[in-house]
Symmetry: C2
Subunit: 137 residues, 2 copies
């Protein structure tokens, strides 16, 4: 059901330093930058193979990523897998007994459809499902 | 320099349950299983796109993954990126000021060459470099 790793999400305290690390030292092109007010983050996407690294800097202390940084510090925050249809994947995973954070898909970065699985039944891993918007130029 | 996400490493307390989650619910084929005594883990690789998920179950409490589980619980443990030559990548990253855990490559799972970067200068992320063995049948 899961086609690839869409991205890994990293919680960062210093966004400029994290961009410098990933672009200069690691050689990953920066491909997108977006402030997602409803999620309380500034997000930066870098390319690596068929996947991305997503840097997540909190817009304030009282945001999910702000609280994550306060308790665990910067580092690995979540993993996102590519699926063909987030809504269908949610139905199958709910039937398999998994606990969902999002009962229905919502709009994520770059207009993608996304939903999160709860870590409690996902091996302790905050797990995201992503279906990107198909671009027809 | 980093060509793709080679794998994400997950610390697991219950290996059978983690295998069931990833193969049945997530639909990832199990492709390799190996006990790495010197690292104190039983490792299982699952395919997802051009990458793997690596499940890491500790062989005892007094191992790196055993201590990780005791303090942080199961979940995301590290990320590994594919590079053409681990030794050359280590030289470049050392020159860029990064702190290395492994000063020279060592042999990892399936005969690959691997080395770890210290989280302190890698954004809080335990980061692995991997060059797989080329198979010439």
């Amino acid at each position: 059901m899961f086609g690839r790793i869409d991205h890994i999400g990293l919680a960062v305290a210093d966004l400029d330093a994290a961009i410098e690390l990933h672009t200069s030292a690691y050689g990953m092109p920066l491909v997108h930058r977006e402030t997602v007010t409803e999620q309380g983050v500034e997000a930066v996407l870098l390319d690596v193979g068929e996947s991305h690294v997503e840097l997540l800097a909190p817009l304030g202390d009282d945001t999910p990523v702000g609280r994550f940084l306060a308790t665990r510090g910067p580092g690995l925050h979540h993993v996102a897998y590519r699926v063909a249809d987030v809504g269908e994947a949610l139905r199958e995973l709910r039937e398999a007994g998994l606990r969902l954070i999002d009962e229905t898909p919502r709009t994520g970065i770059r207009g993608s459809q996304v939903a999160f699985l709860h870590p409690a039944t996902a091996g302790g891993v905050l797990t995201e499902l992503v279906t990107p918007v198909e671009v027809h130029p």
